[in-house]
């Protein structure tokens, strides 16, 4: 009977699916004495470098916590484990994988993906299933204006990246007896959510000081040449040039300002540590200001890793490259979970969520305390200046290694 075969097949498929779902939720959050966290990270595609930083950061935290006996919940010690998928650097895939982690793998705690775009795609999914989601690599401000209850970020949002460069310029101007109102800003940003947030932060800071913005260019994502923008910058002679265009933007602005002799007293950019401008571009990078979430020279400490520098050393030993801030903030995300599990004394998602929301801890990465929208407001951004081929912290002034060299001496 040919007709009954499809029916039987249908039944079998249905039964299999049911079994899978049942197996999924049974295997859920705790396997024996191991708590499983889930993460979609970019192992291929355009974010693959930072995706690996993220994964390495998570892995190091898990390793260290497990070495120290795991997390104690209800008198029993549990080990941590992370289940990874590759999101291929595409938001749609990230959202799919989050569904899969939650529905098929039964994961109850999600660690963030790399980039704001991916986080923006995954946050609605974790929100829908009421799954706590702690991330260290999605800095877009709009992630925290949606009223998400289950999303927490350990990093400073992106509008803070270059805000302090403007404040610092105002400070220096005052010292030199100049009214900050007379300062002129030229800026260029890639047209992506992150960079546009950076721009917003600068616009607000400029308004606060009454500075004038005279060039405001948006760079296309396939930017390979900033000559047109820089010709304009050179002509209008601003006091600050601020650029955010990931590694490409950082490399291009350093290379082309030197080449075209665009002499601006303060040049600030994001991503110059991951673009390795001081290492690869040599003396033309001299004097450039860089925004960073974290630095190993900061005097933060915690019980897991010791000081920021200890963390950096351990990381380098483990993975054979210097710890970027992207890895540090990923590690900090896992620490938030570990701390919250212990305080909640349970693996119930609601209790863990409330415990995360009440977090008030110090880590090697900096203080972590979430406001009601879920972003960490306790930690300041760091500004470096490239001096003598090295990144020196110049702001916040509390941890500054040295004073800002102003104006930037144009390399000849």
């Amino acid at each position: 009977m040919p007709k009954s075969i499809p029916k039987a097949r249908l039944l079998a498929t249905g039964a299999c699916a049911l079994l899978l779902i049942a197996a999924g939720s049974a295997a859920a959050k705790v396997e024996g004495d191991t708590v499983v966290l889930g993460a979609a990270v970019s192992l291929t595609g355009k974010y693959s470098v930072n995706g690996k930083n993220t994964k390495d950061g998570y892995d190091l935290a898990v390793k260290r916590i497990n070495e120290m006996g795991g997390v104690k919940v209800g008198g029993k010690a549990y080990k941590l484990k992370v289940l990874y998928y590759d999101d291929e650097s595409t938001p749609a895939r990230g959202a799919q994988l989050a569904e899969r982690l939650i529905n098929q793998d039964g994961v109850k705690f999600v660690l963030g993906a790399y980039s704001s775009g991916l986080t923006k795609a995954i946050a609605p999914v974790t929100e829908k299933y009421k799954i706590p989601h702690v991330e260290g690599n999605g800095a877009a401000r709009e992630l925290f204006t949606e009223g998400y209850k289950y999303l927490f970020a350990v990093l400073s949002t992106s509008d803070y990246y270059l805000r302090d460069a403007v404040n610092l310029a105002a400070e220096v101007a005052k010292e030199k007896g100049r009214d900050p109102k007379t300062l002129k800003i030229a800026m260029a940003f890639e047209n992506d959510p992150f960079s546009l947030d950076v721009r917003q932060g600068i616009v607000e800071a400029a308004q606060k000081h009454g500075m004038k913005i005279i060039v405001d260019d948006k760079l296309p994502p396939e930017i390979n040449d900033m000559a047109a923008t820089l010709t304009k910058v050179k002509a209008v002679k601003p006091d600050l040039l601020l650029v955010s265009g990931h590694e490409k933007g950082a490399t291009l602005v350093v290379k082309q300002t030197a080449e075209m002799r665009v002499d601006v007293p303060i040049v600030g950019t994001t991503h110059c540590d991951s673009a390795k401008i001081a290492e690869t571009l040599g003396k033309i990078a001299e004097g450039v200001l860089c925004a960073s979430q974290w630095d190993r020279k900061l005097s933060y400490k915690d019980k897991w890793f010791g000081s920021a520098d200890d963390y950096a050393k351990l990381f380098e030993k483990e993975f054979n490259y210097p710890a970027p801030y992207q890895a540090a903030e990923s590690t900090a995300s896992v620490l938030v979970f570990a701390d919250a599990f212990a305080r909640a004394g349970s693996f119930e998602t609601e209790k863990v969520r409330d415990a995360i929301s009440a977090t008030d801890m110090m880590t090697f990465y900096g203080p972590i305390k979430f406001d009601e929208t879920g972003k960490n407001t306790a930690k300041p951004m760091v500004l470096y200046q490239v001096l003598g081929g090295d990144y020196k912290v110049v702001a916040p002034t509390k941890w500054a290694e040295t004073k800002l060299v102003f104006p930037r001496k144009m390399p000849q």
Binding site: N191, D217, E222, N224, A228, A235, M260, L281
Partner: protein
């Protein structure tokens, strides 16, 4: 509008934009000439053109890391890419020559994704640059600057173009390539091994792209996702200049470089690409009208 006023207030700016445009145009011309060659001879549109440029850039970068001056890396990158182009022809491209144009577009599009992801996997997504160590020429008391490396790139691009022209005119393989472009069937009847000609053509195309990629790595930056803008620009230039017209390709490329720079200055960098595509549409429409007029005269 402020930008336009600025441009009129300070004439050296226009000179700067013009020079920058011409110098980058020469690099576009190389990749575009390769595309025109492959299109004209083999009848296929190579969408992986930009990826060949990208791989040429990486070749130069790794040679630079090994201590070879990037300028010497240009011919080496070209030779390496020639063999890669040959291998690509023997493995993939030969299957789509003589097929529908869309099949070739699909196949080379697939190839472009493959090369992009391979580069990403092997070299990482980091942005690299091959420091050439050249300085900057300062003109008009510092108001106009020309990076020496751009000047050298310009010269190298012209030289490569000229060498290609001589090769196509004088060498036996060049003549065979031109014969195949005119009429592949007749060429086969005359005893030309067109399969070999195709392999050479694709190899030469890859070599030119490799040279232009090496120049790109020295002048700007190289990363795995560099390709697409170069493919698109090559396509535009070829559409404008037509196939088999070296000087036309050069003129169109220089024009595109200049237009791009002025558009970036006046409209802002975000509309740079949009302006170029707008221009393409205008040119296509205009050409349609002018061709239609010619057709009317004929009938």
């Amino acid at each position: 509008m402020d930008n336009l006023r600025l441009l009129f207030a300070a004439p050296p700016l226009s000179l700067q934009l013009l020079l920058d445009g011409i110098l980058i145009g020469a690099i576009f011309a190389l990749a575009a000439y390769g595309m025109a060659l492959v299109w004209g001879v083999m009848g296929l549109i190579n969408v992986a053109q930009g990826e060949l440029v990208m791989l040429g850039g990486y070749a130069a970068y790794f040679l630079y890391r090994a201590g070879i001056h990037p300028l010497l890396g240009v011919p080496v990158a070209a030779v390496l890419l020639f063999f890669l182009g040959w291998a690509l022809y023997r493995s993939v491209i030969f299957r789509v020559v003589d097929k529908d144009l869309f099949i070739s577009i699909l196949a080379t599009y697939g190839l472009s994704i493959l090369l992009q992801q391979l580069a990403n996997g092997l070299f990482g997504a980091n942005v690299r640059t091959a420091e050439s160590g050249f300085g900057t020429l300062v003109l008009l008391g510092g108001e106009v600057t020309i990076a020496e490396i751009k000047l050298i790139s310009f010269g190298a691009a012209l030289l490569t173009g000229a060498a290609l022209l001589v090769f196509l005119r004088r060498s036996r393989m060049g003549q065979a390539i031109r014969a195949t472009a005119q009429n592949a069937r007749a060429a086969r009847v005359m005893g030309i091994d067109t399969d070999r000609v195709y392999a050479w053509t694709f190899g030469i195309n890859a070599a030119i792209c490799g040279a232009s990629g090496a120049l790109v790595a020295m002048t700007w930056i190289v990363h795995p996702y560099l390709g697409l803008p170069y493919t698109v620009r090559s396509f535009m230039i070829v559409i404008l200049a037509g196939l088999g017209n070296v000087l036309g390709v050069l003129a169109a490329a220089l024009g595109l470089g200049v237009a791009e720079n002025f558009a970036g200055f006046i409209l802002g960098a975000e509309y740079q690409a949009a302006f170029i595509f707008g221009l393409l549409v205008v040119i296509l429409v205009w050409r349609r009208f002018s061709l239609a007029r010619q057709r009317r005269y004929l009938t």
